[in-house]
């Protein structure tokens, strides 16, 4: 039933957006220096730079949706490459929990995703944003934005 609700609220079947999609990118500054290199497309990027991705507590991820994000992307270093050893592991657990909350609410956990990228791999970060934008084309904008 929850998934039906998620589907109803978020899947607009590829209808054209009425505004540019907004993506909030949480990233540790080891994985990605800043989000300037991701800008320039037909979307809005809000970058949240952190010394370690584990600072992205559950409420920060939810508040990004409250603040108008259609999708939230969390960029962390690869497993075993975290400068603070377990930061990215903790982040993954929080992201998993918030995905469940988003499913329960009806926004849909698919709008929040974590990706491991190698330090400074801006091309990978850009591909992730492009992929998210393409997916937003299918899902539609967030009804909570």
């Amino acid at each position: 039933m929850v998934m039906e609700k998620v589907h109803r609220m978020s899947n607009k079947g590829g209808a054209a957006h009425t505004r540019k999609p907004r993506i909030t990118v949480f990233h540790c500054f080891t994985a990605l220096e800043d989000t300037a290199s991701l800008e320039g497309g037909d979307y809005e990027i809000q970058g949240i730079k952190m010394p370690c991705s584990s600072i992205s507590r559950e409420v920060f991820l939810l508040r990004a949706f409250e603040a108008g994000a259609d999708a939230v992307v969390v960029l962390v270093c690869p497993v075993n490459s975290c400068r603070y050893v377990q930061g990215n592991i903790r982040t993954e657990k929080r992201v998993t929990r918030v995905k469940k909350i988003l499913d329960e609410i009806g926004i849909g956990g698919h709008r929040l995703n974590m990706f491991n990228i190698v330090q400074g791999d801006e091309a990978a970060a850009r591909r992730i944003i492009e992929q998210t934008v393409a997916e937003l084309g299918e899902w539609g904008l967030s009804a909570a934005a």
């Binding site: 609220m9 409420v59 329960e104 009806g106 926004i107």
Partner: protein, 222 residues
């Protein structure tokens, strides 16, 4: 510590849906430690509720506050200003905290947001386990520091039941058999003979079976 779990979002949402403005009141002691009702949980719940109502086209004003301990008047007084502004408070404290707030602020509807579960410990990161039932007369020394009241499903005092298997309890195979632990401890410390001693039936009047209990400390009364 007292260990609890936050109620499902759906249940809390149903309880607050009749209100336009609520306070979510957290507690910074036990329930914070077990991730059920501290500052972070208050903020996460508030945000989840706001988003959920927004999707339904509704706005609900949610105040957030966490006091050091909800089971002490000294601390809940600090919530008076916020409570005066709302008709309902979701308390993320244990049942003691919820009732303390309810008795001090009878004008508001108190909605419990946590299921108070047990007295226990943090066994390892992310795992809390029950250890004590608060029987009012601790006899854990007779069992090598392993309580058969809090940790044996059948509260046995004279050895394991027939269901103890491979060190696990038949009632819940995920749980260690308390009596296996007691015997192992006694064997390891050369005290097996101690377990042969007769333990008289427990006087349960000191437990909750004797009705709600009080601890009165005249030396701390003013």
């Amino acid at each position: 510590m007292i260990v609890g779990e936050q109620k499902p979002l759906e249940e809390i949402k149903a309880k607050v849906s009749g209100y336009s403005r609520i306070l979510i009141l957290g507690c910074g002691t036990c329930v914070k430690t077990c991730f059920a009702g501290g500052e972070d949980e208050v903020a996460t719940l508030a945000s989840a509720l706001r988003l959920s109502f927004k999707l339904e086209g509704r706005t609900i004003q949610i105040e957030e506050q966490t006091v050091e301990r909800q089971c002490e008047d000294e601390f809940i007084k600090e919530a008076a200003t916020n409570i005066a502004e709302v008709k309902a408070v979701v308390s993320l404290a244990c049942g003691a905290g919820v009732q303390m707030v309810a008795s001090r602020f009878p004008q508001v509807t108190l909605l419990p947001g946590v299921n108070t579960t047990f007295i226990g410990i943090l066994e390892k990161a992310g795992l809390f386990t029950e250890k004590c039932l608060g029987c009012g007369n601790c006899i854990v020394d007779l069992f090598g520091g392993i309580c058969p009241i809090g940790r044996c499903a059948k509260r046995l005092f004279h050895g394991p039941c027939g269901g103890s298997s491979k060190g696990k309890c038949e009632v819940n195979p995920d749980t260690d058999c308390a009596w296996q632990l007691i015997v192992d401890h006694a064997a390891a410390t050369g005290q097996l003979d101690k377990l042969a001693e007769y333990v008289p039936p427990k006087d349960w009047r000191t437990s909750q079976a004797g009705g709600p209990r009080k601890v009165h400390r005249e030396d701390h009364e003013i």
